[in-house]
Amino acid sequence: MPDFFVLAFYAVLGLGMAAVIILLNWFVAPRTLATARRNTPYECGDPPLGSGWVAYHIRYYIFALLFVVFDVEAIFLFSWVAVFKTLGLWGFIEVAIFIVILVIGLLYAWKKGVLRWI
C-alpha cells in the first residue's frame, strides 16, 4: 500500500468516527427551547457586549513571524539530519553557518524587545 493511501484512509476513518459520534448525539439528545436567554454566549452571568470576535494584540502576530522563520529552519534541518552521516564535516559547517545567521536574528529580535510580553 502506498504511504499516502494509508494516511488518507486513517484521516477519513477518524473523521468518519467523529461524524458518527456527533450524529448519534444529535439523534438521541433532547432539545431545549431556543429562547433568547439560552442563546446568549457565556459571559459570567452578564449579557455580553458586542460580538465575540474582538481585536487582539499585535504581539501574537510578531511571535508568529518569528515562528515561521524557525519552523522553516527546522524543515531544512530535518533534511540535513537524514543525510548527516554522508555529508560529514562539511555539511556540519554549512548548517552551523546557517544556524548562526538565524541565532543572530533571534538575538537582534531579543535586543529590540520583540520577545517582551507586555
Binding site: 494509508v6 454566549p41 524557525f70 530535518f78
Partner: protein, 348 residues
C-alpha cells in the same frame, strides 16, 4: 504456544497472519489488493479500539491520581474503584444536548473537535508499538508526528475562534502563541536523537538504541523535550488555554454534548501520543529484558503519563509572559546548543 509466548515475537506473528490471510484469499480467488485492504481495516479497528479504551482509562486514571495526590478517593461509586466512570461519563454526554448557538461559525465549530481528534489519532500510525507492529513505518515518521501534532493544536485555535465568545477567542490566541513557541525547541531536541540514529524513521530510531537508551546520551535533550511536550499538549503547568480561573473553560466554553467529549478524546489521545513519542525517542521504545516488547512499550509510556499527571497536580500554572520568556529565552537557546554539541561530537 500460548498467546503470551507469541507476544515475544510480534514481528513473526504479524508476518504469519499476513501470509495466512493472503494465501487464503488467493485460494478463494480474491485479488491481493482486496485482502490487503481487509487487513488494513482490521488493523485500523484494533488501533481505534486501543485509542478509545486507552483514553477512557486515562480519564479515570487522571481522576484517581488527582484524588490520591489530594488525599481523597476520586471516583468510587461506578464499578470497583470507579473503573466504569468513563463509561458513565460517555453515556451521560451522549444524552446531553449539543447546543449550537445562532451566532457561531457553524461549519468550523463542528469540524474543529472532529479534526482535532483525527489529527491526534494520526500520530499513532507511525508509532512502533513492538517490532513489526507499526501501521505505516514511514521514512519521514518524525516529521509526520510533529506535523500531525501541530495540526491538532491548530484546530484548538479554530474552535476558540469559531465559538464567537471572548473567552474562547483568548484561549485560541493563547494556544497559537504557546504551541508555536514550544514546537521549535521540541523539534530541535528530537533532531538530536535523529542525529544519533541517522534516520527520521521511528523504527530505526528505536533499533539504534539497542543497549544504550538515548536518555543516557541526551539527558538535556530529554528534559527539553519533556518540557516542550507539556507546552505542546497544553498540560499543566502550561495549560494556559483552559485556565479555568480566568478563561472559564478556555476554547471549550461554548461546547457541550459529544462535541465537547471529542475535545477530551483529542486531548488525551495527544497526551498519550506525546508520552509514547518520548518513549520511542529517549527510552528505547519496546526494548527491555524478560517482558514482551509491547508490554515494555506500554509500561514506559504509562510511566511518563503518570509523570505528566503528577506535574499537573503539583505545579502551579505559569503566567503567560513567563511562559513565553521561558520558551524563547531559555529552552530555545538550550535546544540549539544541545543540537550543536551533539552534531559536533558525532562529526568528531
Amino acid at each position: 504456544m500460548s498467546l503470551w509466548q507469541l507476544l515475544y515475537e510480534p514481528d513473526r506473528w504479524a508476518d504469519e497472519i499476513n501470509k495466512l490471510i493472503t494465501n487464503w484469499g488467493l485460494q478463494l480467488g480474491i485479488p491481493v489488493f482486496i485482502t490487503q485492504l481487509f487487513l488494513m481495516i482490521v488493523v485500523a479497528v484494533i488501533l481505534l479500539s486501543f485509542i478509545l479504551l486507552n483514553v477512557a482509562f486515562l480519564t479515570w486514571l487522571e481522576r484517581k491520581v488527582a484524588g490520591h495526590i489530594q488525599v481523597r478517593h476520586g471516583p468510587m461509586r461506578t464499578g470497583p474503584h470507579g473503573i466504569l466512570q468513563p463509561v458513565a461519563d460517555g453515556i451521560k454526554l451522549l444524552f446531553k444536548e449539543s447546543i449550537t448557538l445562532p451566532f457561531v461559525d457553524n461549519f468550523i465549530y463542528t469540524l474543529s473537535p472532529a479534526m482535532m481528534f483525527t489529527a491526534a489519532m494520526l500520530t499513532y500510525i507511525v508509532l512502533p508499538f513492538a517490532p513489526g507492529w507499526v501501521v505505516a513505518p514511514l521514512d519521514y515518521g518524525l516529521i509526520f508526528v510533529f506535523a500531525a501534532g501541530g495540526v491538532s493544536s491548530f484546530f484548538v485555535f479554530t474552535a476558540g475562534w469559531s465559538s464567537n465568545n471572548k473567552y474562547s477567542l483568548l484561549a485560541g490566541m493563547r494556544t497559537i502563541a504557546q504551541v508555536i513557541s514550544y514546537e521549535i525547541p521540541m523539534i530541535l531536541a528530537a533532531l538530536g536523537v535523529a542525529l544519533f540514529a541517522g534516520s527520521l524513521n521511528l523504527v530505526e530510531i528505536v533499533e539504534a538504541q539497542k543497549g544504550l537508551w538515548n536518555i543516557v546520551v541526551q539527558p538535556l535533550g530529554f528534559l527539553l523535550f519533556l518540557t516542550a511536550a507539556l507546552g505542546e499538549t497544553h498540560r499543566a503547568p502550561f495549560d494556559l488555554l483552559e485556565a479555568e480561573q480566568e478563561l472559564v473553560a478556555g476554547y471549550m466554553t461554548e461546547y457541550s454534548g459529544m462535541r465537547f467529549a471529542l475535545f477530551y478524546l483529542g486531548e488525551y489521545t495527544h497526551m498519550f501520543a506525546a508520552a509514547a513519542l518520548m518513549t520511542t525517542l529517549y527510552l528505547g521504545g519496546w526494548q527491555g529484558p524478560y517482558l514482551p516488547p509491547v508490554v515494555w512499550f506500554l509500561l514506559k509510556a504509562y510511566a511518563l503519563v503518570l509523570l505528566i499527571m503528577w506535574f499537573r497536580w503539583t505545579y502551579p500554572r505559569i503566567r503567560i509572559d513567563h511562559l513565553m520568556n521561558f520558551s524563547w529565552k531559555f529552552i530555545l537557546p538550550l535546544a540549539l546548543i544541545n543540537l550543536g554539541v551533539t552534531a559536533l561530537v558525532l562529526v568528531w
